[in-house]
Symmetry: C2
């Protein structure tokens, strides 16, 4: 399993409610793919969404987004977390 | 206080050690500006660093990076966090 940060950029901005609704669909879909969407951050005005996700691969994480709501990330990076 | 996600993109990649060293300098500098760098994620190969930071403003967060080590983020977004 790996940790990934994905980045969505939505032209014209996004609403938290729309992102929350999409996230609920991710949660309902991810189990079949061994994926866990852990946390996400939203800038409504800039239309930016950052999703932190644990997944066997970037492709598996993307597949969940694709099957759940079709909004695949524009970028996805394998990351290590630090503090 | 607001929550911000900043994004650094380093041509040619970054090492976790170099990012950790820069982060230590942020921690030593942030107090004077009322800023708290909370967590960060690194993709060494892509040269991507995502920093989650609590700050009175984006400019205050940037100022800490600038004074600590000069590596100001390429992008910074005010975000809300969800899970």
């Amino acid at each position: 399993m790996g940790l990934f940060m994905d980045v969505h950029t939505v032209e014209g901005g996004v609403s938290r409610d729309d992102v929350a609704a999409a996230h609920e669909k991710d949660l309902a879909t991810q189990g079949a793919h061994g994926v866990s969407y852990l946390r996400y951050w939203v800038d409504e005005q800039a239309g930016k969404v950052f999703c932190l996700v644990e997944a066997p691969s970037a492709e598996a994480a993307n597949t969940v987004h694709r099957e759940a709501h079709g909004l695949v990330a524009d970028e996805i990076y394998p990351v290590s977390e630090h503090s």
